[in-house]
Assembly symmetry: C2
Amino acid sequence: MGKRKKTKIAVGQAGGPTAVINASLYGFVNEAGDAYEIVGILNGFQGLANNQFVTFNGALKQELRQSRDVPGAFLGSGRWTMERQDMVQAVQNLKKLDIHYLVFIGGNGTMWSCKELEETAKELHYDLAVIGIPKTVDNDLYETDHAPGFASAARYVALSVRDIGKDLQAMQNFESVRIIETMGRNVGWLTAASALLKETDAQPPHLIYTPEKSLLFHKFLNDISETVKTIGYAIVVVSEGIRDEKGQIISQLALNEQSQQQVLGGASSYLSRLISQETKLSSRSEILGMNQRCSQWSVAAQDRLEAEEIGKQAMNGIRQGLSGLMLTLLSSSELNEPYAFTIGSCPFEKVAGLERPLPSCYLNDTGTEITDSYRKWLRRIVGNDIQGYPDGMTLLGKIAR
Amino acid sequence: MGKRKKTKIAVGQAGGPTAVINASLYGFVNEAGDAYEIVGILNGFQGLANNQFVTFNGALKQELRQSRDVPGAFLGSGRWTMERQDMVQAVQNLKKLDIHYLVFIGGNGTMWSCKELEETAKELHYDLAVIGIPKTVDNDLYETDHAPGFASAARYVALSVRDIGKDLQAMQNFESVRIIETMGRNVGWLTAASALLKETDAQPPHLIYTPEKSLLFHKFLNDISETVKTIGYAIVVVSEGIRDEKGQIISQLALNEQSQQQVLGGASSYLSRLISQETKLSSRSEILGMNQRCSQWSVAAQDRLEAEEIGKQAMNGIRQGLSGLMLTLLSSSELNEPYAFTIGSCPFEKVAGLERPLPSCYLNDTGTEITDSYRKWLRRIVGNDIQGYPDGMTLLGKIAR
């Protein structure tokens, strides 16, 4: 009896890695079991166009199992925009290997490439099913309640701002302001997450600024001075992509100022210098950096679980013959009820290349504070096992300087 | 029967806070119990000179108990150099309150002030016993095997570099080099800690640069190019205070370059730009920042324990009538044996204002790698509960770009 050839499925990872992207890959590969031949695409779309594949044999599956909870992308990732000829080449590469199923784990850029690839295959009369697994620390994907990777990054931001707040509170006689910069070129989800553990007005962050709302320099300086006067110090959190009243990206202003030199520190650095120049307050900037997307210790348990589950369901989607879809996470409970989720899906065109802003209902009127509804929404996915600190020596602020 | 007045002891915290400095304060106050009246000095030496005291009543003791594991300095800290008149004022303030015992938790600057205060009191014929409790994330105090605060910061650095390494490994087709900057103006203990979890040559960090050894630009660029050629990417860790072959502080070069503007990013930013300019490699800089000294999640269990214990022993030192001493942590076992420590002491002049460099025996000949002896020494205080990652997709590096 001849051995029947296994159906092949290609899977890749694209865009910036997260701390749980490998859990999705593991969920997918593990669910496929021995019924399918899984072909890994190395280094994202570049590998797909350049014929860089690896077969998940037993040893590689074992390696993946060991890397399930390791940050970074197991298969390698990248930022690579596919041109038309790359799309055609990619389809030809898949055809050569007789692969009719393609799965990519990524964000809105990845979903755009998935959509284009599916269309290119159709044009070339090649039968190709494409499924997308969401992944982003920015949480800027539409249609999904949130994307795997975000909750862990949010947890990192919330804990860092809580801890840096205590540090500055203790040093308020030496320095007054810290401008902390989070990821988020166009959306403020992560910046808003910095306020998750805030319980009283005195606690950090005292002001947040997201790209969804213009930062007015005059008001910004005034609000910070007021905060320092009232609280004794100010922890301010800004998204890397915040814009000024003219719609200019503030980190670009920093670029101009330094006569087109490479951006050094971006928005937070620019704002920190502005404070030092325009007020008598001492200020320092702090970029939370890559740790936001790769810290293993800050992985939220729910995030890891959902990342793996959605990977698993992508395999089920293949079995059901689905195509042209990104899977989504849908909350199946009200904010006040215990959290539960289901997995749904949406056509690529609903998410491809689009960025979902933080809804205005999650920010107060000035845009500098989050609402309780955001805090409740976020808490469900970040976990109940982290808390804010006691206010502590409120006496400190009362001492004349 | 009249109530006998309790002996008063003043205690303060000075310099940059750490994640375990409050454990030392708690250990001290808790050990004092109800037998003494503990007077907290707010905001470090500035509070001592300006008469900013608070009595540890029951409520404040309760508040301290809740803040034992909270980062930042419970009493407030600062960076304040005491002039002669401040010293005199400080002694007069203590005299007014009839306080004859003074304890400060801090680093080599703090120990200098302690020594000066003790001498000033002597000159003024005021009976004052002074004891110092060590604290520094830089680990630059002499006489002690290590200082409370360092192991937790080292743990933070080791974990961050491990995780950022996996992130860059996955993105090596998009960017090649990350220059990660740790704290350490004059000593490389923390930078060297970044290699704690490295197990193979392929793992990060691939190169480290400490202030103890000049960085030679030519060799630096060459080593990075070689690393990228061999490994596929390069994780480089530098201390904020590294110097070039002329002995110039590299972050100061960055300052000059920007025509005396505020330093933006310091050494790592300067070196990253140098790489982009002088090689074809894409490079990014990353400053680990304040999280190194305040992250609660990265606290090493041994560090917390030792911080509390040394606080407790300071109280015992007061009982024994000691003065003019900083307490020290002494390892009482060989590197290959299970770790054990005892608490000793040394005169202030042996530590005051002095910075202990990383011994050359802890670095290899080029200064860019740590030795096994450093790894063993560090592992004992950072803990065995954190590990490196599997090398992972070594395939990635083999793919032609």
